[in-house]
Symmetry: C2
Subunit: 299 residues, 2 copies
């Protein structure tokens, strides 16, 4: 069972201020909105070239940071009196090491950073968490600020999987867990009872475009339906990089001709839930939360 720590309101008190390190997608905006509603407006560090143009993040106190300036993160967060940090949204690019200038405070982390850079996304994120916490920041997960982001178990929306979809759900889950165990990716598409596409660093949307292309080119002839499955990695750092789905995922899955989406409850995020459900219902896709995996998750 993943530790979910659904205690909301972690970020209370006049002294606390949340900094969001914002990558792409809808998640950073969702968190910012929620904090604003909680009367605790965040400070946003937008990673250059990664945040969505229509994210609305410019409406908050913010600055734009070049990825290679990551070593300056601690100083930037201190200047804004940040106490809590959320890392949210995909950062697709990886920093060019040669262009980075670690300050003195960073030097003792360099060996760990180099190890982390070669050990997969999760290793890298763990490193950043350790580095920030060593410097006195509390790193929290998106779901600790917006608890209802966390995928629940059971059916979303009006549409249930058909009996014939379950072999796809099962095959997709086995594949997604296998590649998750290797810290490679978090998603797979299964059609006709077998996994046919696996997510590497290209991401879920690119994988779904690939499935659409395969179908358009007759490579899946006679195979209808099919399922996208997303799972957290065994031992995944739940405060970062949880697999997520949202309205755009529904559109991409529909374009790929899939029948639905299955995510791991407690180990995945659902963004813009009401909009996502409405879209899924309108397009005839099912969305379900699967029981969490047996594997113990990290913290």
């Amino acid at each position: 069972m993943p530790r979910t720590e659904t205690s909301s309101g972690l970020v209370h008190g006049a002294d606390s201020r949340v900094g969001i390190i914002a990558g792409g997608g809808a998640l950073p905006g969702t968190i910012a909105q929620s904090l604003k509603k909680q009367a605790s407006p965040p400070y946003i560090l937008m990673v250059e070239g990664e945040t969505d143009p229509d994210s609305g993040l410019e409406d908050y106190d913010h600055e734009v940071m070049v990825l290679e300036d990551a070593p300056s993160l601690v100083g930037r967060l201190r200047r804004q009196n940040i106490t809590h940090v959320v890392m949210a949204g995909e950062i697709k690019r990886r920093p060019r090491l040669a262009a980075m200038r670690p300050g003195f405070g960073m030097l003792r982390y360099v060996p760990a950073l180099l190890r982390a850079l070669s050990s997969g996304d999760d290793g890298l994120l763990r490193f950043v968490v350790t580095w920030l916490e060593d410097n006195g920041f509390k790193v929290v997960g998106a779901h600790q600020i917006v608890p209802d982001l966390l995928a629940m178990q059971g059916q979303y929306g009006k549409i249930a999987p058909q009996k014939a979809d379950w072999p796809d759900i099962e095959a997709g889950r086995i594949a997604a867990e296998a590649i998750g165990a290797l810290d490679i990716g978090q998603g797979a598409v299964a059609i006709g009872g077998r996994a046919i596409a696996l997510e590497g660093i290209e991401g879920t949307d690119a994988m779904l475009v690939r499935v659409k292309d395969l179908r358009d080119h007759g490579r899946l002839a006679g195979k209808r339906r099919g399922v996208l499955v997303k799972c957290s990695k065994p031992g995944q750092e739940l405060r970062t990089d949880l697999p997520s789905i949202g309205p755009r995922t529904i559109d991409a899955a529909h374009a790929a001709g899939l029948a639905g989406i299955a995510v791991e409850a407690g180990g995945s995020l659902v963004l813009n839930g009401p909009e996502m459900i409405a879209r899924a219902d309108a397009l005839g896709l099912f969305v379900i939360g699967l029981p969490p995996g047996e594997v113990e998750h990290g913290q």
Copy 2:
């Protein structure tokens, strides 16, 4: 250790005639050429829409078969007095079941066929092997006709992997074996010590184009080199669908910015070896055969 059965000249005697069921790529032509040299010209069943236009297969006795006519295979082979069958080359499309007309002789195989169709490529190929052998044909592997197709252990060409390439080779192999164990694919690309792309049914060339795109879009910034690894699946039917590399793979790997290619010795095929090596040497890529996996292979 895979059973390689490198006994050449399996196809001797005035009574034997080899039929090649030909899909895409260079393999069917290579086998046909070799048989012609052995004074045993083959008969070619070209699968419509799958064989390469420049394969030269039209120069042999041949017919073109629509994929959905597969149930007529036994009759077609008998009419040509075929004794041995080789299945060679990728068949990308899957037959539309609704368009198939199984004859009476085929009916008892329908339940096994339906099971096979949902159990991955290897399951489907095993079904075809069983069906053909039940009907008196001897199914042989490409390497049983052209033994030197089988990848050998050690370095091909002039270029050796650098020390820094070994973590990529190791990570790629672990990933390729993991997805092979799930009967999904046979290849992976690892860069910077981790697998970043996994081969589904799109195939190796499409995966390499994806890696090229990721690199072009800065998703691999600061990561140079990288390796394509191809392995056979645990328990793979060695007479069909062995992973293969050739001159085109070198070009695609080079376009993706990779440093080299590693294949499993004894469980992969090397097509147009001399041309492939010359291309790899010219472009500065290494090609090596890795020791075969520990897992017992099927027959």
